[in-house]
């Protein structure tokens, strides 16, 4: 019957839609770093080397699940995510493979990559203190832990504990103080909150500007973006824990998938990403710090000042993430 032909044709068309352009690509990437931040790098690489890249963006969780379900038949060669915790979990779930590359080891600082060489940091951001320049003297600030002191009662603003950046920060606190010590810090923060935790860093900074609170904790690039829009911003960054462990830093990074079909190409691309040119693109695109020490920080970012960064290996963020979340739940940090 004709109807059946029509139906079959429709199904075939739908099947073929989208399927055609996925063959013959030279590099396939799953990325949890957003399109607007990552595509310029892909474009630059394609222009330079002629390597065609196709990619899919999604959250880290679904991408990881996707890799697991696809198993050895996955098309993905490279997994890019933000936050070291996500990378650590990807490695633990067995979807990445170790990469021995002298270039990567030389370019990327040792605490910003996996001790087992399964993932590598590609850009660096600090999670630091932001304060109102109208109502806070930087001299009053000292450490993350001190934000729980009585002088910040009803002045502290935080982002939700559901965000992985805060989970990693608390994981680092646990590594320093142990669970009980870290829980005391978190409880003292919660007691000082001037408003319920915010859903994102930008909203939190806007609340400080509006006077809802005076200090908070942000990722540096969110501050940078706000500053770019408004150079007169009445906010400034403060680098805490300079006499002790240093500022908490986190990465966006990548790893070659275990069943990559284009392993060589993926490693080459990773190496390129750690090179000077790509590192500059990273910083320009999102106002982040390079992971390659021989690359100069972008002047706009460098203008926020030098700081001593924590040298703890970021794998800790993954190992202690579970404890960190439970701790924050117990402390009623929402």
């Amino acid at each position: 019957m004709k109807k059946h032909h029509l139906f079959a044709a429709l199904v075939l068309t739908l099947l073929s839609l989208g399927a055609t352009n996925t063959f013959a690509k030279e590099l396939v990437i799953y990325s949890a770093r957003n399109e607007q931040l990552i595509k310029p790098l892909f474009d630059a690489y394609t222009k330079e080397t002629g390597t065609e890249i196709s990619f899919i963006t999604d959250k880290a969780g679904p991408l990881l699940q996707r890799l697991k379900s696809e198993g050895k038949n996955t098309r993905a060669d490279l997994l890019i995510t933000v936050d070291a915790g996500n990378l650590w979990h990807a490695a633990r779930e067995g979807v990445l493979q170790p990469v021995e590359s002298i270039i990567l080891q030389a370019n990327i600082l040792v605490h910003l990559r996996d001790p087992g060489n399964q993932w590598f940091g590609l850009s660096l951001r600090a999670r630091t203190i932001v304060y109102s320049t109208e109502r806070v003297k930087p001299a009053d600030l000292s450490t993350y832990e001190e934000l729980g002191a009585p002088q910040w009662k009803d002045r502290l603003l935080l982002r939700t504990s559901k965000k992985v950046y805060n989970q990693s920060l608390v994981a680092m606190l646990i590594a320093e103080h142990g669970e009980d010590g870290a829980e005391q810090v978190i409880r003292s923060w919660v007691a000082n909150l001037a408003a319920k935790p915010f859903s994102n860093d930008t909203k939190m900074m806007q609340a400080i500007l509006a006077g809802q609170g005076d200090v908070g904790i942000v990722n540096t690039y969110y501050f940078g973006r706000l500053l770019k829009k408004n150079p007169e911003l009445k906010l400034a960054l403060f680098w805490p824990n300079q006499k002790s462990t240093g500022v908490h830093v986190n990465i966006s990074g990548a790893g070659v998938t275990r069943y990559a079909k284009h392993t060589e190409a993926a490693i080459k691309f990773l190496e390129w990403l750690s090179s000077e040119k790509a590192q500059n693109l990273f910083a320009d695109g999102n106002m982040e710090y390079p992971v390659n020490q021989s690359v100069a920080t972008h002047p706009d970012v460098a203008a926020w000042g030098d700081f001593k960064a924590s040298k703890q290996n970021l794998a800790i963020a993954g190992q202690l993430q579970n404890s960190a979340i439970r701790l924050m739940d117990r402390a009623d940090y929402r």
Partner: protein, 553 residues
């Protein structure tokens, strides 16, 4: 109108069962659709094979009671809110006459095109502490001026009510428009006051439509992640995501989700039970009943009320989106937007047609077979609407990847050829996934209209020699027109707004407007997301306006 007991249905359905070419065909079809939904659901159920007791214990010690309370508050609040708004607006525009009624009648549907997460971030942008309203108030009245806390249960209920009331409004309006004044007059002739008549006759008669609408709302509220996370309001859904993305325990997340499904199954069963013993049919089909003429202050109160709702649910947020879009237009807009737009429209269009067709057949199957099994299957087929999108997406993806891997292995082992993945990353799979997700939206719209088609009509048609497909095409379809257009619109708009399934199943390069919004908002770039959000909104308006023109004929 008549409202009769169900006792005759059994007999009459047996009576004309010989009319259907393949009596079991309907049931087979229902079974297939139910299976499609059942597979991802059972993937969730399988997670119970390894219960994540330590996570459950942790939740029970810390969050669980608050989560349950919050979720309950949200669902009760939003359904109450949407009932109040939806029914009152539907009655005013459907059965009354007041200045501007004609325009409000369609304009009040516009918020349907506004994704809940967009309304959430725009409302917070305007009304939160750092937003322009409170800032201005502080400038006028000093720092200590009191303003209700937006980021609270009340705030999130308000926003979701404003975003979701059109579901109740749309379905209920269909009922009121055709009952109109006549029902009220009948009640008054029996000695009811107008108010009493409304509550004792008009509302009960509109029950299937109202129930259909509010069930959709409840399912949306239970499954919502976008809006509640913008408000940082912890619900069952946020816990599911946290368990998955934070504890990296998909089994525990699936276990939590399966409880959500159980709740919704009960909800849907309850709805069906509530109206099981009723038949809602019209004695004669009048396209437009007389309207109640509002007089005096009432007229203007009605106009004012409709304007107020329209403004805060649609005009104000749209203006804000427009303003933000202007700010970012030069840096954000490029030729890629055409591609995003094209993908969004194409996917939504195909999916809407498929969903509506399947919903029509399901509803028909339910009509033909009143046995328990068929109805349980139909219930199952609509459950996808209640799951958090990402969870459903995984439930779909896991068996899909398994099937693909199986085919690849088979091809390799049996024929020695290497084939790529055939299903993953194809538009066909996206359409199937959307159908699983949004079946309820299509089904509820059509099924409530289906109650209008009485068995008498079938009998009469049979006497005139119409049967099978002809009966459907010549008699039923024209009567179901309104329901079908409603289903098409709801499905189209829902698919346009959909995020997680699109993210997980799209082919390489098939980004849509919703994907773009995801990319921008997940990094907190709300203002830049205004451009795709506004485009999405405008696209959603097209079918809504078409629907209004269609049903207002």
């Amino acid at each position: 109108m008549q409202q009769s007991e169900d006792t005759t249905t059994e007999a009459s359905s047996r009576g004309f069962s010989h009319l259907i070419p393949h009596p079991s065909g309907w049931q087979c079809f229902t079974l297939i659709i139910a299976l499609l939904v059942f597979i991802p659901l059972s993937i969730l159920a399988f997670a119970w094979l390894e219960p994540a007791w330590d996570i459950w214990r942790h939740l029970q010690e810390t969050l669980l009671s608050r989560l349950l309370l919050n979720t309950l508050t949200l669902v009760v609040g939003v359904s109450t809110g949407t009932l109040l708004l939806g029914i009152s607006l539907a009655w005013l525009t459907g059965a009354c006459e007041f200045p501007g009624r004609k325009h409000f009648s369609w304009a009040l549907l516009l918020p349907l095109a506004m994704p809940t997460y967009v309304l959430a971030f725009v409302s917070l942008g305007i009304f939160d502490f750092s937003g322009p309203v409170q800032t201005q108030l502080r400038a006028w009245f000093g720092r200590n001026i009191w303003f209700p806390d937006m980021r609270s249960a009340g705030g999130v209920i308000l926003v979701m009510t404003l975003a979701l009331y059109p579901y109740v409004y749309l379905l209920t309006r269909n009922a009121f428009r055709t009952q109109g004044k006549r029902a009220l007059e009948a009640a008054e002739s029996l000695g009811c006051t107008p108010v009493g008549g409304f509550f004792r006759v008009v509302l009960p008669m509109a029950r299937p439509w109202i129930a259909g609408g509010v069930t959709l709302v409840m399912m949306e509220a239970l499954a919502d992640f976008g809006a509640v996370s913008i408000f940082n309001y912890d619900t069952f859904t946020t816990a599911i995501y946290k368990t998955w993305f934070g504890f990296f325990s998909l089994p525990a997340a699936a276990q939590l989700s399966s409880l959500l499904v159980a709740m919704v199954f009960l909800l849907v069963a309850l709805e069906q039970r509530l109206r099981k013993r009723m038949r809602f049919a019209q004695s004669r089909l009048a396209p437009q009943a007389d309207r109640v003429q509002l007089t005096g202050t009432c007229r203007w109160l009605a106009t004012g009320y409709c304007s107020l709702i329209l403004s805060i649910a649609f005009l104000l947020p749209s203006l804000q989106l427009f303003r933000w879009s202007l700010n970012v237009f030069h840096e954000e807009f490029d030729s890629r937007y055409l591609g995003l737009l094209g993908h969004s429209l194409l996917l939504a269009l195909i999916a809407a047609v498929v969903i509506t067709a399947v919903a029509l057949l399901l509803s028909y199957a339910g009509r033909r077979h009143s046995d328990r099994l068929t109805h349980a299957l139909i219930r199952t087929a609509t459950l996808g609407y209640a799951l958090p999108g990402t969870v459903l997406a995984v439930g779909i993806f896991i068996p899909l990847a398994w099937l693909d891997n199986l085919m690849i292995d088979l091809a390799h082992n049996l024929f020695g050829i290497d084939i790529p993945q055939l299903l993953q990353g194809t538009v066909l799979i996206m359409i199937v996934a959307y159908t699983i997700r949004f079946m309820a939206a299509g089904f509820k719209s059509i099924d409530s209209s289906m109650h209008r088609v009485t068995t008498n009509i079938d009998e009469a048609s049979r006497l005139m020699g119409l049967r099978g497909i002809k009966l459907l095409a010549r008699v039923h379809l024209p009567m179901l027109r309104g329901g079908i257009f409603t289903a098409l619109t709801l499905a189209f708009v829902d698919v346009m707004k959909e995020m997680p399934i699109t993210l997980m199943t799209r082919p390489f390069g098939w980004d849509t407007l919703a994907v773009k919004i995801f990319e921008l908002t997940s990094e907190g770039e709300w203002e830049r997301a205004a451009l795709p959000a506004l485009t999405l909104l405008l696209c959603g308006l097209v079918p809504i306006v078409l629907l209004m023109r269609e049903t207002d004929k």
